[in-house]
């Protein structure tokens, strides 16, 4: 019993991280119909910025954990957001009116550029950040225990907060209305006076910021990263986005949680060798039953 509960905790935290990164894929797809393959690498860049931010803050003599984490979150989210803006500006905007395939290839190129740029500037070695927050809450269950580390609690809390704020922004604010209008019909939105280029830029920045949230939290939790770390987690987050219905914001969160839980439960209760096989089989199954994902809307062919 305690083991199943523990796996649920493991899956939930992993899933919320997948969900945060999946938001970047799903929002970009929703608004311009492209898959931003460089998104995983934006996450990787944010891991490096996290380490730099921690080093900077400790260099200035700040030692209290809350200030370090808030400062790091702030710095990393801001700088990574800037990366998102620049990437959109140089790699995607010039191709706005060309075929989807060109943008896709541009995205793959951007992904390679980011990996190699980080490798050259930061070195190919494994990097680590020191453990800042230790300790855990333990519940006794039967003759075993279930524990959740403070770091994992923080991950859950901040990702839920991030998702909540984002949902509010999209549903209730003027910016959100502009995003939704652009998503529904870009041409009409621009006729009605919405600067769609600006909206698209904003979406890229928001996506990068969410990836940065995940980057800071995961880097602080696992402590280890390298220039290639965005690849696997990027693929997983993309899967989560497709699972939940690409283009749908709640879908990305739901997809992330389902993927995280299914991985943890399968690895924990059956076999960790085949957990990815299981996750992808699940994806195939869901796509057979619901081709546009769990919460995705079927694409209406415009005539």
């Amino acid at each position: 019993m305690d083991i199943v509960l523990q796996q649920l905790v493991n899956g939930l935290t992993l899933g919320s991280v997948y969900g945060l990164i999946a938001i970047g894929y799903t929002m970009v797809y929703g608004i311009i119909g492209m898959i931003n393959f460089a998104h995983g690498d934006v996450y990787m860049v944010s891991a490096y910025i996290t380490a730099i931010a921690i080093a900077l803050l400790t260099f200035f003599g700040i030692e209290s954990f809350p200030i370090i984490i808030i400062g790091t979150l702030f710095l990393t989210v801001a700088v990574t957001g800037a990366y998102g803006w620049v990437i959109e500006r140089i790699a995607y905007r010039p191709l706005r009116n060309s075929s989807r395939l060109s943008v896709l290839i541009s995205a793959i190129g951007m992904s390679l550029i980011l990996q190699n740029y980080v490798q050259l500037s930061q070195g190919a070695n494994q990097q680590g950040v020191p453990t800042l927050l230790t300790g855990a809450i333990r519940f006794t269950v039967g003759d075993g225990f279930v524990q959740i580390t403070y770091m994992k609690l923080l991950i859950l809390f901040i990702s839920l907060l991030g998702m909540g704020v984002l949902t509010y922004v999209i549903q209730k604010t003027k910016l959100g209305r502009m995003c939704r209008a652009t998503q529904q019909d870009r041409k009409m939105a621009s006729i009605l006076g919405i600067d769609t280029d600006k909206v698209i830029s904003t979406v890229f920045v928001i996506g990068a910021m969410m990836a940065a949230l995940a980057g800071v939290l995961v880097t602080l939790d696992y402590g280890a990263f390298d220039f290639y770390v965005g690849f696997i987690i990027g693929i997983k987050a993309f899967t989560a986005a497709v699972l939940g219905g690409i283009g749908s914001l709640p879908g990305a969160m739901l997809g992330g949680l389902i993927l995280g839980l299914s991985e943890a439960l399968f690895a924990g209760l059956i076999s960790s060798d085949y957990k990815d096989v299981f996750s992808f089989s699940l994806l195939v199954l869901i796509l057979i039953i619901r081709p546009s994902g769990l919460l995705g809307k079927p694409e209406v062919e415009k005539v």
Binding site: I3, Q6, Q7, N10, G11, T13, L14, Q119, G123, A124, N125, Q126, Q127, G128, V129, P130, T131, T134, A136, R138, G144, F145, Q147, T149, V218, Y222, G223, A224, F225, D226, Y228, V229, F231, I232, E263, A264, L265, A267, G268, L269, S271, S272, D273, K275, D276
Partner: protein, 370 residues
């Protein structure tokens, strides 16, 4: 003289000229993960080979010719290993190769070197298949995973007296090979593992796997794989409150293991099998001192790479720079290296393996267990 004859003469002169130019240096490839997540090992290989080549050149080179090293980066990926092996053989004209590092790279590359008649001496690839293929040109100056697995298994059974052993591997040639070798010796001792599972290279979250280790109540966790996964694994193991003893092989001999684990306190007490410390060979003391004086700590495979270069040099210089004859020669002659006298058997393995157990301490250093 007819035009055709003149042209032929000119061509043959040009070819002869090119051949002489190529002969001016003895090209030796240093193949390993010079970039990528395992680049720390590539650096060890390069530093060792570089110093050995410099020392040999300073002493007059090979038959009066200088060694020229060429870096070949395989990033520990089998496909890339094959393409850099082809490049070394075809365009660089390498006579011999020190490398590769990962067994999964060394095995496919070895066949290309065999076809081209190039001598290959790996400082680090321990998977048994490499020499079991029976290629005449392949040697290694490290042990084999079956020997390494034996040492680990007998330590687990005799010293730790553990009954509940969880075996984890990274599904790669080296990691799984090592874990399997350990497992079969363990089973031969009559201890059945309580768990045998693989994880995915490149992932960082192993919490689900660790909860499972906790659920089977393992008192020893044996991991076949590299430090980039071993670090997060041991850290998350401790974070989940497991006190199980963590044992791994020579894939974690790098200072990076500590930084990847996050803190020396997580690696405290981790055990690993690795060759006897090079400083235990009197012949190695001078080289180690020179490395340290130059500001580089020759950790992990650095001296193995130095040794591999010495083996290559001995084989080439005693056989008129012919790598095929050199390979033949190595099987019946011993070579004096910084790590003592090395003899090879018919397969290209060392006749004597020297695996011992090391322990990491709370300062993030490793030392031999007595």
């Amino acid at each position: 003289m007819s035009n055709a004859v003149i042209r032929k003469t000119l061509i043959s002169l040009a070819v002869a000229g090119a051949a002489t130019l190529a002969q001016a240096d003895v090209v030796i490839g240093v193949a390993g993960p010079h970039t990528g997540p395992y680049a720390a090992f590539g650096e060890q290989l390069w530093k060792g080979a570089e110093k050995a080549a410099a020392d040999i050149n300073a002493a007059g080179g090979l038959k009066g010719e200088m060694i020229k090293l060429v870096k070949a980066d395989d990033a520990c990926e089998p496909k890339q290993a094959v393409s850099v092996a082809n490049r070394l053989v075809d365009s660089d004209g390498a006579l011999a190769v020190v490398g590769h590092f990962c067994s999964s790279s060394s095995i496919p590359a070895s066949r290309i070197y065999e076809e081209a008649g190039v001598l290959m001496v790996t400082p680090a690839s321990t998977n048994p298949t490499l020499t079991d293929q029976g290629l005449p040109n392949v040697f290694r100056v490290c042990g084999r995973d079956d020997q390494q697995g034996d040492v680990a298994a007998s330590y687990i059974v005799d010293v730790l007296k553990a009954k509940r052993v969880a075996v984890i591997h990274d599904k790669d040639t080296y990691g799984k090979g090592l874990a399997d070798a350990m497992k079969s010796t363990l089973n031969a001792y009559g201890v059945k593992e309580v768990m045998y599972e693989g994880l995915t290279r490149g992932e960082k979250d192993f919490n689900a796997l660790i909860t499972k280790i906790r659920s089977v109540d393992a008192d020893v966790v044996y991991f076949g794989g590299l430090h980039s996964e071993a670090g997060p694994l041991v850290r998350q193991l401790r974070e989940q409150g497991s006190k199980a003893i963590f044992i791994s092989g020579d894939g974690i001999v790098s200072d990076e293991f500590v930084s990847v684990a996050g803190s020396p306190k997580y690696v405290d007490g981790v055990l690993m099998t690795f060759g006897a410390p090079p400083s235990s060979y009197p012949s190695g003391k001078k080289v180690i001192k020179e490395f340290r004086d130059s500001g580089y700590e020759p950790e992990g495979y650095t001296l193995y790479s130095y040794t591999a270069m010495q083996v290559v040099a001995a084989a080439l210089s005693n056989n008129n720079l012919d790598p095929v004859k050199g390979s033949e020669w190595l099987k019946s002659h011993s070579v004096n290296t910084v790590m003592g006298k090395k003899d090879f058997d018919d397969k290209g393995d060392l006749t004597v393996s020297d695996y011992v157990m090391y322990e990491w301490d709370a300062q993030g250093k490793y030392h031999q267990v007595n």
